[in-house]
């Protein structure tokens, strides 16, 4: 459960193969669009966000993190009828933040990953809420119980997804 401080040299940096880099986000966005229709409870999850955090913390490169997050978010936006950029901006911030934190912290254990996911889920929701209301003028309701429950559920699923990502990541 401990989040250990490490020096930059001690932290492992990983990379993903090109097929994994393309297919995993695509599958995540596809599942996010498809699954809630068949299993309504699934809408509580944000798979593209979990993949963004997983990639960012493994690569530990802020630039790679922000571009990965931005692209996944834009892909997610493009499927909706809302303006493109809502998810794009939120996930850019999350990708940058997660990879920056990944440099400073050792996030290899499940407890650290759980807390990290809850934190970045909250960041994502706050940024999304602010942009949707402030810039796009959408009506949104903020519900603390819902956000808390979603954060926990996403963190639990995130731990599993990060374990799957561990299998496809390659040491540089």
């Amino acid at each position: 459960m401990a989040i250990t401080y490490t020096s930059g040299e001690q932290v492992e940096v990983y990379r993903f193969s090109i097929p994994a880099t393309i297919l995993i986000p695509l599958i995540a966005v596809f599942l996010q669009a498809w699954a809630p229709l068949r299993f309504p409870f699934f809408s509580i999850f944000d798979l593209p966000l979990l993949v963004t955090i997983g990639f960012a913390t493994a690569r530990r490169s802020p630039l790679a993190g922000l571009f990965t997050g931005g692209l996944i978010g834009i892909l997610q936006d493009a499927l909706t009828h809302q303006p493109i950029g809502l998810y794009g901006i939120s996930k850019t911030v999350v990708g940058f933040g997660a990879s920056s934190l990944g440099i400073k912290l050792d996030v290899e254990n499940a407890g650290a990953r759980f807390l990290l996911t809850i934190f970045f889920y909250a960041v994502h929701e706050v940024v999304y809420f602010m942009i949707a209301r402030g810039l796009v003028g959408l009506h949104m309701e903020w519900s603390w119980p819902h956000e808390l429950l979603s954060g926990m559920a996403n963190a639990a699923l995130g731990v599993l997804i990060f374990m799957l990502l561990d299998r496809v990541k390659q040491r540089t």
Binding site: F30, A33, I74, L79, H81, L86, I131
Partner: protein, 387 residues
Amino acid sequence: MDVLGRYRNLIVLVGVLFAQVLGLAVQVKRTSDSESTRLIRVWAVGAVTPFEKVLLWGQISSGNLWHNYFYLRGVRAENRNLKAQIEQMRLEQVRMSQDADQARRLQALLAFKEQFISQTMAAQVIGGTGSELSRSVYIDKGHNDGIKPDMAVITADGVVGKILRVYRTTSLVLLIDDQTSGVGAILDKTRLQGILRGTPSGEVALEKVMSDETVPAGELVLTSGGDGIFPKGLLVGRVTKVTPGAELFLNIHVRPAADLSKLEEVLVVTKIDERQAEPDHTGAARAVDILAERLPGVPSKPENAEKGPAPAIAAPGDAKPKAAPPQASISGAHAPSNAATAASSAGVGSSPSGTPATATDSVKVSPKPVKTAVAPKPQPAVEDRPH
């Protein structure tokens, strides 16, 4: 230069965020998609929907295999129940066709023009958008199939939404529970009109009904036809709760008739026609004819009956002698042919509310009950309950 190198990541972050915020602001200002955003959407949809189509195909194929070949338990009993149900519905249909005929005669007298759905296209829902802020679904029909923006999308239960974006082989349907959608609606009994909108929490509310009006819970909500998208009279939902709202309007909560969270197949209304009502001269069937068909039948006359005398004894193969034909005492002994007329006369042309079914599909489109406010409803000749 050193500063730029040191804060390179931060500068890139700010640059990327600035570009996205700028792009977002431009999109909010514009009402339609620019070419660049349109391209991004086309690419994204092109990348994701093939997965959805493959999955849907697999799901349907395996479902068909299971249901049509392996899982046939209870089919006999179900078949028996369905036959009984059909009997009841045919009687109901005859009664309704009489009402509809009467309504058409009156409409013709008033030179009343009605809108009706003349063509629909069945489509499968292949996926959603994955966002709670965007309550919309993708269907497997697009530009290649003749789908155009602003076409109405319905199910047999009620209104679903409208076509928002059309791609080559898919389309995006904006559901009625989205907060950016708007459907012109009218309450069935009170005839109050309003606008049906989605709320941020995913509910549906009827807006712009003044607070001094009385709206009972349970009242049906129908399309008013005022939005130019949905023809008048389609069932939208039912009022669940009415509370006083802000700015002199009522808060009317509506439960959609179609289950928007479990959509699988929908109908896209590809053509709406307007016609003047004409009375039906085909002749309506009577409920008694339908009932007569259910009574024990007269054995069919042998072909050589006219040539020679009728046999006095039943054929050796018959286990029981047939009873005397009771149809003769009721009227309409030749029920089968009349029953067929009944079915056809109450079909496409006489669907309730002037929104009949469709030229291409046999799905009941408008579940609205026929209103007979002008004249008293004719009573059926025979009680329609099966004995």
